[in-house]
């Protein structure tokens, strides 16, 4: 019920809803309001001007009262909307429930049939079938409803498929509820919202189509409708322009209100959709950058008091990183450890300047080689990215552009970082791919991401990151998404590259084994704060903070070899 209250408070929904209610209420009270029948013509009243007694809005080319015809037309459009939408809902919802709930074969048949319906120009069919419908707009709208049904079918099918895979339907099945009751109870409650939204748009489409057809002359001349009135007004445009105005105004008002109501319903029922932000404006910072004070002279990267906030549910900012402090020396490998959601990745993104649009840096500083990074614009950050600071992501597949070959994307990155020619870049990329353990570099170079395995894709991403010999490599859970056997190989590769290029590495992970394996220093993060940091061996052997101890204990229970690795 709170949804309805929210709708009533939304001005767009309230205004458009009231307009529609007013118009259709006027339509319903036609017998009280209309002073003439819709087809009652009086030859002495032909083209009577507005204000003529008994003809408030005047009369048309046949001497029919325009106001009365408008009122009757409202009812015609209401009936059209009800039939078109009703049929579309009946057909689409039932087929969607069946297609979504039952097996793949049933679904394939339904899919095929609805694709068939969708591929034919509906309006042409409605015109061509005039001999069959005999010009009765109600039959036409019946067919139109069928033509609208694929949209509803898709919505319902997708929602049902989603719900079906959710636990509570399984639970309901276990608890002995029949198929029909499962459908009724759970699925319908989920699909209700999207269907109400779609219904508003379909009503608009039905009314617009009926008017269009009536304008063409499809359908009986006896039925008063906006389309017919517009057509008559159009013929009379030179003589009496207002005759065209009234039905157009009313039709425009109805369809516009339905569309705007649909939009308002969508915003309320479906929740807010992502809003675009300017690409390349750089991450948002609300701190006044201060000159680096008494910085660690050895440090390549120094993060101090970093605080990152996101807009929270009640408008209150929610801090995901709170006063994090961390330093990395040249050539050093530092592990940043913590549970998922502890703010590790956010810290890494902040260094790269690629925090999501919603995030704001509210406090602190990030100094790289003596230069403050917070507050830099995207174009000021760009020369650093790739060249000085590089990044290896967690999930290899989603981090490659699916539309370009591996070679093309690596070459683009190398060229933008180093400004070398295409052929030079290609030679370099091929050598790198080989260095990163790819057996057939030429072939991988010409492959698309979907043709690679996860391990290969991660090697490709590492190759892309180290291509320009960065001073700092930020690796965000580089092995988490990979098979266990591949994990060790990737870690070996990172370690070798680190030594070879003398890079500093910030390794973000939740895995102490990985840290013990390749890191010199460790920082432990808990709920946005760095609670402990120091030499790896010291921290692992004698954790001082309770959270570190807890994390270590929980791991040691399962994987004994950790201590061995940390020897």
């Amino acid at each position: 019920m709170s949804t309805w209250r929210k709708l009533l408070r939304d001005p767009q929904a309230a205004v458009t809803g009231s307009i529609l209610i007013l118009i259709f209420a006027a339509g319903l009270s036609t017998p009280l309001l209309a002073q003439h029948g819709p087809n009652e013509s009086d030859l002495s009243m032909v083209n009577a001007p507005a204000g003529t007694p008994g003809y408030l809005l005047g009369a048309d080319e046949s001497g029919r009262d325009i106001l009365s015809r408008l009122l009757h037309s409202i009812n015609t459009s209401a009936v059209s909307a009800l039939i078109g939408t009703g049929v579309a809902l009946a057909v689409g919802v039932s087929a969607g429930l069946v297609g979504g709930y039952f097996g793949a074969r049933t679904r394939a048949i339904a899919e095929w049939a609805f694709n068939l319906v969708m591929t034919f120009p509906g309006l042409l069919l409605l015109i061509l079938l005039m001999p069959v419908t005999g010009g009765d707009y109600r039959y036409t709208m019946l067919i139109f409803g069928v033509l609208l049904s694929p949209g509803i079918y898709r919505i319902v099918r997708n929602l049902v498929l989603g719900v079906k895979n959710e636990l509570y339907v399984d639970a309901a099945r276990v608890s002995g509820l029949g198929n029909a009751r499962i459908l009724g109870r759970h699925v319908l409650s989920v699909v209700r919202g999207p269907i109400i939204i779609a219904a508003a748009f379909m009503m608009g489409a039905s009314i617009a189509t009926q008017s269009g057809l009536a304008f063409l002359g499809v359908g009986s001349k006896e039925i008063p409708s906006f389309g017919d009135m517009i057509s008559s007004g159009f013929r009379n445009l030179y003589v009496a322009p207002t005759q065209f105005l009234w039905p157009s105004l009313l039709l425009g008002l109805i369809t516009a209100s339905l569309v705007l109501l649909g939009n308002a319903l969508r915003d309320t029922l479906a929740g807010s959709r992502p809003q675009p932000a300017k690409v390349g404006q750089g991450q948002r910072a609300e701190v006044t950058p201060q000159p680096p004070a008494a910085a660690d002279p050895e440090a390549l990267l120094e993060i101090r008091d970093l605080t990152i906030a996101y807009p929270g549910p009640g408008g209150q900012p929610r801090e995901v990183v709170r006063g994090a402090t961390l330093a990395i020396h040249r050539g050093q490998t530092v592990g940043l450890v913590g549970e998922s959601g502890s703010g590790k990745t956010q810290t890494a993104f902040a260094v790269l300047g690629v925090l999501p649009d919603e995030a704001v840096v509210t406090r602190g500083s990030i100094v790289f080689e003596g230069r403050e990074l917070i507050g830099l614009s995207d174009s000021e950050m760009r020369p650093l990215r790739g060249k000085q600071i590089a990044y290896v992501p967690q999930e290899p597949m989603s981090n490659l552009d699916p539309s370009y070959t591996v070679g093309a994307q690596l070459v683009e990155g190398v060229r933008s970082a180093l400004g070398i020619s295409k052929s030079e870049a290609k030679t370099r990329v091929l050598a790198l791919l080989e260095r990163c353990g790819i057996a057939d570099p030429e072939r991988t170079f010409d492959s698309y991401p979907h043709q690679l395995s996860g391990g290969m894709a991660q090697r490709v991403l590492i190759a892309g990151a180290v291509a320009s010999r960065p001073k700092l490599l930020i690796a965000d859970e580089p092995t988490t998404a990979l098979d266990v056997t591949v994990q060790a190989e990737i870690l070996d590769l990172l370690r070798d590259l680190q030594a070879e290029l003398n890079m500093a590495v910030l390794l973000v992970t939740h895995n102490f084994g990985v840290v013990a394996d390749i890191c010199e220093r460790i920082a432990v993060m808990e709920r946005g704060q760095i609670v402990e940091s120091g030499d790896v061996l010291e921290v692992l052997r004698g954790p001082r903070h309770e959270y570190t101890r807890m994390l270590l204990d929980s791991i040691l229970d399962h994987t004994a070899p950790i201590r061995e690795a940390s020897r």
């Binding site: 309006l123 042409l124 001999p131 063409l216 690409v279 990044y391 933008s416």
Partner: protein, 313 residues
């Protein structure tokens, strides 16, 4: 590739068979009325029977449909019951008129929507609100009203463009352009409203993907990320919308033609349907299906070119 194209064409053929069969079956319900329409009010039952026999409507429906198909395979769509003109050439001529407003409208729609959608999604803020507002206006005003309003303002009042009529392109390109200008604008406004919103949505999704962030960390320029990477990936789903947009536009064109008295597919279909001219109706149907098949094939091929995963080897 050839196998793929022939498979799609075969699917189109099945579609054509089914749609024409269904249309024919539905039309067959009204053959009696059709004969009466042809003969007029004063027809005697005998003359109705004779006419029914002459047109072959007394045979079983499936036999009639099979007969129509046989002729179709020989390239013969029959001729109009009223004018005796061959159906195929008349249909093609009318289709040409309608396509000459749809094709330019579609091209402009695609260009404009891509620009607006990308602009809105990559700028955000005011740019986004302007683009959203523009597409909303196009969405809430029915094309029919827009057409009449434009005719009134541009043709009747300002006398800048002809209000009605059509000049073939081959006859006089300038006059052709003037005769299709307002209908094309009307179709574009409706089309952009729909399509720009689609492009915007796809672009917003695409710009939030992981690979975009990774590309940014490599120091790749904003323009390249937006145009080369995000737009390229957004184009593939937007293409599926394009074929639906074509079908939609075809429907709107049928109504809008009427405002401008263009001798296109819509008025042809309307007259044939009003008169119950069955051979013409069937000809219009089959060409409609073929057109859709060709457009779908085109978008599929373009999709394969854009999207390596959909590529068929």
């Amino acid at each position: 590739m050839l196998a793929y194209i022939s498979r799609r064409l075969a699917a189109g053929l099945v579609l054509a068979l089914l749609v024409t069969l269904i249309t024919f079956l539905m039309l067959s319900l009204s053959f009696q009325d059709v004969v009466r329409t042809i003969l007029g009010q004063s027809a005697t039952p005998e003359s109705v029977d004779a006419m029914t026999k002459q047109l072959g409507y007394d045979r079983p429906v499936l036999v009639q449909y099979g007969d129509w198909l046989l002729h179709l395979f020989r390239g013969d769509l029959g001729s109009s019951v009223y004018t005796s003109l061959p159906v195929a050439s008349s249909v093609l001529q009318r289709l040409g008129v309608t396509l000459s407003i749809i094709v330019p409208a579609l091209i402009i729609t695609v260009l404009l929507s891509t620009f607006l959608g990308v602009w809105a999604a990559s700028r955000g803020g005011i740019a986004d609100r302007v683009a959203q507002g523009l597409s909303l206006v196009g969405y809430i005003v029915p094309g029919l009203l827009l057409a009449i309003a434009l005719v009134y303002v541009l043709a009747v009042r300002a006398k800048l463009l002809p209000a009605t009529g059509y000049t073939p392109l081959a006859e006089n390109p300038g006059a052709w352009l003037r005769s299709i200008a307002i209908p094309v604008v009307v179709l574009v406004i409706g089309g952009v409203a729909n399509m720009a919103a689609q492009v915007r949505g796809r672009m917003i999704d695409e710009l939030r993907r992981d690979y975009v962030r990774t590309l940014r960390t490599r120091g790749i320029s904003t323009t390249s990320i937006v145009v080369r990477h995000a737009l390229r990936n957004a184009a593939s789903p937007a293409l599926t919308v394009l074929s639906l947009e074509f079908i939609q536009m075809f429907g709107s064109a049928l109504i809008i033609e009427n405002v401008f008295a263009l001798p296109g597919y819509g008025s042809y279909a309307f007259n044939a349907s009003l008169q119950g001219d069955i051979p013409v109706i069937m000809g219009i149907t089959i060409f409609g299906v073929l057109l859709v098949t060709v457009v779908n094939l085109g978008t599929d091929l373009a999709n394969g070119w854009l999207n390596p995963k959909a590529r068929v080897h």
